[in-house]
């Protein structure tokens, strides 16, 4: 699942889908964490996975705020056209 998210981030030009792919990667990491937590009979993996979900929520909010601001200026969500920083 991580690789699918990674390919999605690299391939898609729509910013929203890129955000989705980042969420996929985070979910894949979460699965890994919880699986190891169960295997090793420890709490740490699940607690870390809880924090990962929280941080993913914060990152999603900030990313969406960014895309809203960008959309207001350029009326597009294609990352190829969002090149204000290009020289």
């Amino acid at each position: 699942m991580f690789v699918i998210g990674l390919v999605g981030v690299l391939m898609r030009r729509n910013f929203l889908i890129i955000l989705y792919s980042i969420e996929l990667m985070l979910n894949a990491a979460n699965i890994n964490l919880v699986a190891f937590s169960q295997r090793l009979q420890s709490h740490e993996g699940q607690i870390l996975s809880l924090f990962v979900i929280t941080i993913a929520a914060a990152e999603a909010a900030i990313g969406l705020a960014i895309i809203v601001v960008l959309f207001r200026r350029r009326a597009t969500t294609n990352v190829d056209e969002l090149n204000l920083l290009k020289w």
Partner: protein, 178 residues
């Protein structure tokens, strides 16, 4: 049929959850319409929560459904409604071949590391009641550990969330036009 082999039914569940999660994630990155992509993401999140339940992590599964599928996804849907995207771009660009190549390489690496690890390839399911030394249920034990051992991390994440909220507000604030 399922009662005779005690390990078959959980394995079927695992197979269903993991395969549908993978298919849904492929759909999430592959569909052209962003709304369809969002629905696929919802399906992925729900099946990942199912996997969590299989691994005896009910609290994380509930948190996943409530926060991820309930709040984050709804936030995405709101923004999607706001942006009102009609059609998206073509998927196959000049970069996609390179991306797929890197993805394949990484996949082979991950599988190689997985199969060579000393843990081996175990199905992520254990028969119920085996080797669970926790005297109380999952939510309570996580809560206890969270507020004793991991208190600092908990507070830091709270501050981080505050920073996120403030940052999102500042970013999205419209300058008043006169």
């Amino acid at each position: 049929m399922a009662q005779s082999a005690a390990g078959v039914v959980p394995f079927l569940f695992f197979f269903y959850f993991s395969s549908v999660a993978i298919i849904s994630s492929l759909l999430t990155v592959g569909l052209k319409n962003p709304v369809q992509s969002t629905v696929a993401l919802l399906s992925t999140l729900l099946h990942v929560a199912g996997l969590f339940i299989l691994m005896h992590a009910e609290f994380i599964a509930a948190i996943q459904i409530i926060i991820y599928a309930g709040a984050i996804l709804v936030l995405y849907l709101f923004v999607l409604m706001l942006l009102d995207l009609k059609q998206t771009e073509t998927i196959v660009t000049r970069q996609s071949q390179l991306a797929l190549f890197f993805g394949a390489v990484l996949l082979c690496e991950i599988l190689l590391a997985l199969f060579q690890s000393p843990l081996g390839t175990q199905v992520a399911v254990q028969p119920a009641g085996e080797g669970l030394p926790l005297p109380y249920n999952n939510t309570e034990s996580i809560g206890v550990a969270l507020f004793t051992d991991y208190l600092l991390q908990f507070e830091i994440v709270g501050v981080l969330l505050l920073g996120g909220v403030v940052g999102a507000l500042v970013l999205a604030k419209q300058t008043p036009t006169r």
